[in-house]
C-alpha cells in the first residue's frame, strides 16, 4: 500500500523487503503470499496517488496524467471507487486464471513444458522481446552478454577460463546489483510538485460497467504475459479502449494493470521463467531458499492444502481487504502523499543505506570488496540512466544466466557433440 501511494518507492519494494527475511527459513506459501500481496497492493493503491494528487504512484499510471485535469472532483470521487472496484475485479479474475492454469496446465500434467526445446523457445523469446522493448539494441545485447558471463553459479561444466572470470565476480549479491543499477540512480530523479488539495470524503459509484471491467481485465491478463514492463503495456492497451472519455480511459487502464501484475506470475509458476523485476527478484529469493518454484507450487503446504490453492485463497482475501482500504480513508491517503512525497527521497535513501548494511552483514566478502563492487554497479547504473538504457535486461540475464547457460551446454552436447 505504501509503495503504491508513495511515488519514490518502486513496485518491487515488496520483494526487496522480503530479501530481509530470506536468510531464515520460511514456508514457500508465506513467501509467495507476501510477494503477491505486496506487489499487487502497490498496483492497487498506485491509482489513488495518481487520481488524488496527480503524482503517479507507480510508473504505469503516468500515461493518463493529462486526463485527470479534465475531471471534476465529483468525477474523481466516482473514479476512485470505480478504479478500486475494477482493480478488485481484475485482480480476482486474474488470480482465478493463474490458479486454473497452474493447476491444469502444470508440469504434473505436461512434463514436456520443462523440456529443453520448449525452454529454449521461451527463453529466446523473452530475450528477443527485450530487444523490441529497449531503445538501444547494442546496449541491450551487451547487457545481456555481461549478465550471462558473470551470472552462472556452481557450474562445473563451464570452460576453465569462463569459470575463472565468473569467480572474479564471486561475492556480489543480487541486492547489491538492484541497489546499484536501479535504486540508487532512481532516488535522484526529479520529484513533481503537488498542487491538488481537494477533499473526497465517502466514495461510491453511480454505476460500474461490468463488461468494460471484464474486457480490461482480459487485456491486462494477456499483456501480463509479455516480458518486461507488462503493467505499463497493459495500461497502454486498455487506455486506448476508453475512446474519448477521460473517465473511461483511466478506469480501463487502472483495471488492466492490476490484471497484468498477477498474470505475469504464470510463466514463473509454470516454467520457472521470471519476466519482470518482480518475478526476477522472487526467482532469486527462491534460489536463496533452495526452492524450485515449479515443483514447490504444486506440493502440499500448510493445512495439507497445495501451495497454489493456499496462496490463491489468501490472495483473494487480501484483494477484498485492499478494496475496502482503497475505498475508505481516501483523504488520509491523499494527505499522506502530499506530506511525505517530498521527504520520501531522503527516507528512501536512509532505507537503502540500511539495506546496504544488512546486505553487507550477510555477504561473505570483506567490506572493502563489497563497497568496491557496489560502487562499480552504482556507477554502471548511473551510466545506464544517463544514456537512457534500462538495466532490466542485465538483471534478467544475471539471474537467469545459470539456467540459460545450462540449457546452452546441454543443447550443444545433445544436438551437436
Amino acid at each position: 500500500m505504501f509503495a503504491g501511494l508513495l511515488p519514490v518507492l518502486p513496485v518491487f519494494t515488496g520483494p526487496l523487503i522480503l530479501y530481509y527475511f530470506v536468510h531464515d527459513y520460511y514456508a514457500v506459501e508465506c513467501l509467495l503470499v507476501f510477494w503477491l500481496a505486496s506487489y499487487s497492493g502497490t498496483q492497487f493503491f498506485g491509482s489513488i496517488a495518481t487520481i488524488t494528487t496527480k503524482i503517479p504512484g507507480e510508473e504505469s499510471s503516468a500515461i493518463y496524467l493529462k486526463d485527470i485535469d479534465a475531471l471534476t472532483t465529483e468525477q474523481k470521487r466516482n473514479l476512485l471507487y470505480d478504479t478500486a472496484l475494477g482493480s478488485w475485479l481484475a485482480g480476482t479474475l486474474s488470480l482465478i486464471f493463474v490458479w486454473l492454469v497452474v493447476k491444469y496446465v502444470g508440469v504434473a500434467q505436461f512434463p514436456e513444458l520443462l523440456s529443453m526445446p520448449v525452454q529454449i523457445v521461451f527463453y529466446s523469446l523473452a530475450i528477443l522481446l527485450f530487444f523490441f522493448i529497449g531503445n538501444n539494441w547494442l546496449a541491450t545485447a551487451l547487457l545481456i552478454a555481461l549478465g550471462l558471463i558473470i551470472g552462472p553459479r556452481q557450474n562445473y561444466a563451464l570452460p576453465q577460463t569462463w569459470y575463472d572470470i565468473q569467480q572474479m565476480f564471486n561475492g556480489y549479491t543480487l541486492y547489491m546489483v538492484v541497489l546499484g543499477t536501479i535504486l540508487f540512480p532512481s532516488v535522484f530523479e526529479k520529484v513533481q510538485q503537488v498542487k491538488a488539495t481537494e477533499r473526497f470524503g465517502t466514495l461510491r459509484s453511480p454505476g460500474y460497467g461490468l463488461w468494460a471491467g471484464i474486457k480490461s481485465s482480459i487485456i491486462g491478463a494477456v499483456a501480463g504475459l509479455i516480458p518486461g514492463p507488462s503493467a505499463s503495456i497493459a495500461t497502454a492497451f486498455a487506455y486506448k479502449t476508453g475512446g474519448t472519455s477521460a473517465y473511461k480511459r483511466i478506469l480501463n487502464a487502472e483495471t488492466a494493470n492490476n490484471s497484468a501484475v498477477i498474470t505475469c506470475a504464470i510463466p514463473f509458476f509454470l516454467l520457472g521463467l521470471p519476466i519482470n523485476q518482480n518475478t526476477l527478484l522472487m526467482s532469486n529469493i527462491m534460489d536463496v531458499q533452495s526452492l524450485n518454484i515449479v515443483q514447490a507450487i504444486l506440493e502440499p503446504g500448510m493445512f495439507g492444502m497445495p501451495v497454489i490453492d493456499l496462496v490463491m485463497l489468501v490472495s483473494l482475501i487480501v484483494l477484498v481487504v485492499y478494496f475496502w482500504l482503497s475505498t475508505h480513508l481516501i483523504d488520509l491517503y491523499a494527505g499522506l502523499v502530499q506530506r511525505l512525497h517530498h521527504r520520501m527521497r531522503w527516507v528512501v535513501l536512509l532505507l537503502l543505506t540500511a539495506m546496504v548494511g544488512f546486505d553487507l552483514q550477510y555477504a561473505e566478502i570483506s567490506a572493502a570488496h563489497y563497497f568496491t563492487l557496489l560502487t562499480g554497479f552504482t556507477a554502471f547504473g548511473f551510466l545506464l540512466k544517463r544514456i537512457g538504457v534500462s538495466a532490466i535486461p542485465f538483471l534478467f540475464a544475471l539471474i537467469l544466466a545459470d539456467k540459460i547457460i545450462w540449457l546452452g551446454i546441454q543443447a550443444f552436447t545433445i544436438y551437436f557433440k
Binding site: 520443462l114 523440456s115 529443453m116 552436447t413 545433445i414
Partner: protein, 275 residues
C-alpha cells in the same frame, strides 16, 4: 512519517515471529540444491530446526562456516572432487579440519541409473544420452563407459533434480541420479542399474571396466557449535531425520567417524576423472 514507521514495524514483527521459532544453528549447504547432498542438507536443517544458507560455491560455504557461530556444514565428497578439479581452495576435509570443526555424522548414498518405462534404447550398446551431475560429466568418465561397449553421450546437469526433470521431459534417454529421488518417482521410472555393490543390479556387473562403478555421494556433517555432541545427539535422535535416512537409503553413522575414508574416495575420483 509515523505511519511509514508503524507499517514497517508491523511488517517486520509479523515476519519475525516465524524466525523466532528457529534454533540458533545455521545449516550451510555446500552442494547444488538439486543434488542428493542438497536434499540431505535440507533434511538436516529440518531435523535441527535450523536456519539455512545456500552457498554459491564450496569456497563461499567455507567462508560462511568460519564466520558463523553454531554453524553446521554439510560437506559433499562430489563437490570436493569438483573443487580439486577446478583448483578451488578450502573445500577439502583436510582444510576444514584446521578450523574448529567437529564431524558429527557421515552418510553415504548410492545412485541409480534410470529411464522412463518403455525405453527402447539400451544402455549396453545403443547410442544414448545419459544425464548426470556436471562434476562427473567429464570426458574421461564418458570414455570409461564407452570402453565397456556402451555408446553413451554424457550430458551435464546441475544435479539429480535437473537430471530427473530432463528425463521426464524426454530430453535424455537415461539419467544417473540419487537413489532416494529415483525411488520417490515410483512407476514413473525404471531403474535397472545401481552403484550399490551389494545390489543384484550392481552397475559393475554389466560394465566391469568402469573404474568407479560403486560410486557414492559421501556427506560429512560437521559443526563449530560449542557442544558438538549435543548437536549430534539432536540429529541422531530426530525422528524426522531417522525417517529421512530410512526413506532415502542413506547409510549413516554417528560414531567412530573416520573422515579419511571420504578423503580417499575424493582422491580416487580425482585420479580417475580429473581433466
Amino acid at each position: 512519517m509515523n505511519l511509514v514507521k508503524y507499517a514497517l514495524s508491523v511488517a517486520s514483527l509479523t515476519l519475525f515471529i516465524g524466525t523466532a521459532q528457529a534454533s540458533d544453528l545455521t545449516v550451510i549447504n555446500q552442494s547444488s540444491a538439486s543434488s542428493p547432498a542438497g536434499v540431505y542438507a535440507q533434511a538436516v536443517r529440518k531435523s535441527l530446526d535450523a536456519k539455512w544458507y545456500q552457498s554459491s560455491s564450496c569456497e563461499d560455504a567455507a567462508k560462511k562456516f568460519s564466520s558463523t557461530e553454531n554453524a553446521v556444514m554439510v560437506y559433499n565428497s562430489s563437490v570436493a572432487f569438483a573443487a580439486l578439479n577446478k583448483k578451488l581452495e578450502n573445500c577439502q576435509l583436510g582444510e576444514i579440519a584446521k578450523t574448529k570443526a567437529t564431524p558429527i555424522a557421515i552418510s553415504s548414498s548410492r545412485m541409480l541409473i534410470c529411464s522412463k518405462p518403455g525405453q527402447t534404447k539400451a544402455l549396453t550398446g545403443d547410442v544414448v544420452s545419459l544425464g548426470m551431475a556436471s562434476m562427473y560429466a567429464v570426458p574421461k568418465h564418458e570414455a570409461q563407459w564407452n570402453a565397456n561397449g556402451a555408446k553413451v553421450k554424457i550430458v551435464p546437469y546441475s544435479g539429480s533434480g535437473t537430471v530427473l526433470t530432463a528425463l521426464l521431459a524426454g530430453d535424455i534417454e537415461w539419467g544417473w541420479m540419487g537413489e532416494s529421488l529415483a525411488r520417490k518417482q515410483g512407476d514413473k521410472l525404471d531403474c535397472p542399474y545401481s552403484t550399490d555393490p551389494s545390489a543384484d543390479n550392481f552397475l559393475g556387473k554389466t560394465f566391469p571396466k568402469l573404474v568407479i562403478p560403486d560410486f557414492a555421494i559421501n556427506a560429512v556433517v560437521y559443526t563449530n557449535a560449542k557442544d558438538p555432541a549435543a548437536v549430534a545427539k539432536a540429529l541422531e535422535q530426530s525422528e524426522e531425520f531417522q525417517k529421512y535416512l530410512k526413506s532415502s537409503k542413506n547409510e549413516t553413522t554417528f560414531t567412530n567417524l573416520d573422515t579419511r575414508v571420504v578423503d580417499a574416495f575424493v582422491i580416487k575420483m580425482y585420479n580417475t576423472w580429473a581433466d
